[in-house]
Symmetry: D2
Subunit: 144 residues, 4 copies
């Protein structure tokens, strides 16, 4: 996708905001790729992130998908902007086994106020990705 960033320091802004999210630290998520309109977040499996069948809890899958989609949106916003999720929908496609997960956030349509993003989440075992979820989100830009 041919997006050009409005803020040349977008990567520092995105990584700086991510570092202040208590929840991302609590679950052990890390920010990987940060490009204009594209942000990837990684997460290792952990026993305390599970639902009743010991798979990764759908809410944790959602957490990294929403964050990836939101920071993909933020990467295209002017300096001083902040991003909020207005809403999102997620389809949980398969049991989330892992042991490692990547959420790939991508901007679908960037706007002055509203940005629409998606995120696909993959479980990795032996480097072979299996898609476990897809999210579609509406983000709003706010002056910081």
């Amino acid at each position: 996708m041919p997006f050009s960033p409005a803020n040349p320091d977008f990567a520092a802004v995105v990584r700086g905001s991510f570092a202040t999210q208590g929840l991302m630290q609590l679950i052990g998520a890390t920010m990987e790729r940060v490009e204009p309109g594209a942000v990837d977040i990684a997460l290792p499996y952990r026993d305390d992130l599970t639902q009743q069948h010991a798979f990764l809890h759908g809410a944790v899958t959602t957490a990294i998908a929403d964050s990836a989609a939101g920071y993909a949106a933020l990467s295209l916003m002017p300096a001083g902007s902040e991003v909020l999720s207005i809403e999102f929908k997620i389809n949980l496609l398969r049991p989330a086994t892992g042991p490692r997960f990547i959420a790939e956030g991508r901007v679908v349509k960037a706007g002055k106020t509203i940005t629409v993003s998606r995120a696909d989440v993959f479980g990795y075992s032996d480097d072979k990705p299996i898609q476990i979820a897809t999210l579609l989100a509406t983000m709003i830009s706010q002056a910081g």
Copy 2:
């Protein structure tokens, strides 16, 4: 809503399943009301459950909303059933301040295979509820 449970032990089933969710323990959520088609989940605010502005992270709001909606669905299923979220959409309505949150899960339409549930999440300060989110979900029943 006049739902009658298919399993007379529905409350024990629902509470037993909730107790095995590592994530609910990690974030400190507790199950409150359990009635046929209606389950409430409570959560106190905590510093490590936040997004970048120190509000409750949308993914945590989502976690208790999805769980409340899913267990409301499970409360109406036959003995031996398990519930999985196929998908959900959530609108985050206001900044989530707290210091206490309740997610009220309610069944909209119960079916043999598919159950549709919703959940409204409220922040409580001085006993006055303010709605912070609403979720609409599709659940599937699986033999245990």
Copy 3:
């Protein structure tokens, strides 16, 4: 819900906008109740509004639900505003038989820019309503 309208002429604005929608005329929808934050739209069954099993097509159910939710939002906006659907999700709960349908649009949270609305759609046979769908939508206000 205790909403007070920003524009005393809200009902005329809502009915006037509805009257200009080619699609609503094409399918034979009519606007019934218009109150602050609450708009109902009615539709009679017709053979050319069907899917492959002769039930009302889900897209027609969606059309009246989205319109009811959008006009409920518009009813609370200042004079000169226009409303656009940013996005919505709908769950189709049961086969839509009729012969008459009502979509009840209700505002969940009204904001300066963003309004969240829902709509429940009921089929009527012999005055007994059966819920056939529920929609959750995000609307944006624009200066006219």
Copy 4:
């Protein structure tokens, strides 16, 4: 996407079902590409398919997107199956001008009971596509 059809006559089944939808005839939609897991539906602009600003009504955009996503799902189902939309979410990205629209339905994950599909809708003016909407849907297979 490397999908193989369960029914060798999938294209005839999909086209036959489409032909019985009264609504698709009413709005003038035609089925174009039909491949395993991929169905495109085309629609010319018409004055009676509009919202209040003379753009294509979001519900019409939704109609072709939902149909394309549903028939993409049906293309992978065994002989004798029928497809129903359980739910979908659509983001309306830009005003729908046209004069011609194409909805591209694609299967994300095919399952025995549940299939998840998406559809992207493009407006065409002088052969240059502009994306006007994206839909994410959950379909269920039923014995015919």
